[in-house]
């Protein structure tokens, strides 16, 4: 595919991912409300929140880094999305996938949070660094089982390309990595709970405790940029997991169903579990998920 149409299609894809991510956020709020016996906000509430935040004025100034932080966050989400092929075989939806994209994607997962850490620290509110320190320590903990799962898949496929990992899983659901390497899948899906920051791993934002954690000082347009980042990042993570474990997708409806199921795994867990403290969360991730990850790598080694 020539470069210019590819760039245009990628832009369309980013906007689509944003719309999907926001809609999923609305569905989550509705589901949570229903579980708690409430009516809940309309499903399109995140769109309204985004529009509202864009139409507020701001006059705050905390320094350059705190201005750049939301851009880092949104850039992390959009950049991650642009690296991952959404529907394999449809050039318009394959984005900028290349041979080493899995390594790059793992870096991009950290990128947004690190930018956010710098910006939130400069904003100066004491709750921001508390949220950041919790977020980064939790992230370091869940990164280990996730990295082990990725190592297992890479060793199994013999390639760092998401494209090839998807190609290796074609030919029926029994070929999916979820079935082929269940231990790596367990490690990765438990790490996914930490990535999405729903309960039991929502100590980072910790509503009712440290107000909203890292974004305490961010308002209006900055906050809407953070919302954009969060929505696209969520979609990118879902698509990455779909490609790694559920055999990718050959059509858009298939992608929607699979990503929806992947995301709601963490939502339903979050709906029924209370919150872990940071050290409990770290202990959890370095326990069974890591053991499963190591076992997944060993499984691949022994099978070769």
């Amino acid at each position: 595919m020539p470069l210019l149409p590819k760039i245009l299609w990628s832009l369309v894809g980013v906007l689509g991912a944003l719309a999907y991510g926001l809609a999923i956020g609305g569905i989550i709020r509705k589901v949570m409300a229903r579980i708690q016996g409430r009516i809940g906000p309309p499903v399109w509430q995140p769109y309204l929140d985004l529009g509202k935040n864009l139409s507020l004025r701001t006059a705050t100034h905390h320094g350059v880094m705190s201005f750049i932080a939301p851009i880092f966050r949104a850039g992390g989400g959009i950049g991650l999305y642009l690296l991952i092929p959404v529907v394999v075989g449809v050039p318009a939806l394959e984005n900028f996938s290349f041979s080493g994209d899995l390594l790059m994607a793992m870096y991009f997962m950290f990128f947004g949070s690190l930018g956010m850490a710098l910006g939130a620290a400069e904003a100066g509110h004491p709750h921001s660094p508390i949220g950041i320190s919790r977020g980064l320590s939790q992230m370091t903990a869940y990164e280990l089982p996730f990295a082990l799962a990725v190592v297992a898949l890479v060793a199994q496929t013999g390639s760092f390309s998401i494209h090839e990992i998807v190609a290796a899983q074609q030919g029926g659901w029994l070929h999916w990595n979820l079935i082929q390497n269940p231990l790596a899948a367990v490690a990765a899906f438990l790490a996914f709970l930490g990535m999405n920051m729903y309960a039991p791993f929502n100590i980072v934002g910790a509503p009712q405790e440290i107000p909203v954690g890292p974004p305490t000082e961010f308002n209006s347009q900055f906050l809407s940029l953070l919302m954009v980042g969060r929505a696209t990042f969520a979609v990118a993570k879902m698509v990455l997991y779909m490609d790694l474990f559920l055999g990718g997708a050959t059509s858009l409806p298939e992608a929607f169903v699979k990503t929806f199921l992947i995301y709601f795994w963490s939502v339903f867990v979050g709906a029924v579990f209370p919150r872990f403290r940071t050290e409990q969360a770290i202990r959890f991730f370095l326990g069974w998920p890591t053991v499963a990850g190591v076992a997944g790598v060993l499984l691949v080694m022994l099978n070769r």
């Binding site: 906000p41 509430q45 529009g51 701001t58 705050t60 305490t216 308002n219």
Partner: protein, 215 residues
Amino acid sequence: MEKRKLPVLPVAAPPEGSRPHAPLGEGCFLGEEELPKAPALKEALATIKNWFRAQSLWVMAYGTGCGAIELRPLTTARFDMERFGMAMRPTPRQSNVLIVSGYLATKSLKRVIRAYEQMPSPKWIVGLGSCTINGGMYWDSYNTINRLDLYLPVDVYIAGCMPRPEALIEGFKYLMERVKKGEANGWHHYLENLDWYKANQKKLITDWNLPDYNW
């Protein structure tokens, strides 16, 4: 049958040593404030913006008096204010509505002013309970204010002691209507009459150590 005459109760004088309140007078925000005329395109854009703002009111989760106890049921399953798109935000930077819930001690007034000025415009104040209107049962207290709109522009009052959560929901729906129509412009009145508000505030807060306008 002859109508029984009710005895006329003597009005108590304010207790000895009570703080002088700012005099009532011109300058209060009475709910009417015109924004300066803008070009047609900007006006049209403002209509769309107001539509968004009205449906996503984020409330500053800060209770000044006993009225805050009537706010909490709004987040529960029985009343559920989230169905109107309203949510509690714990930081003034992300809130649009400041609820002064009940009596406001002069000590809290300082914090409320600081929180209000840190909120991004447009922002709205809801005065909850009689205490914000005329002092309510604390009308002769030495350390509470009697009229909130001498110090901050109030967009919607919800009368009662205490108003039930249903009354609060009515009040919020009224605020949403006004925001949608672009009529709730107390924040603009505050900016236009900053000197008047600051003078009133400084009359009450003797240990004034805030910047004159703290964004």
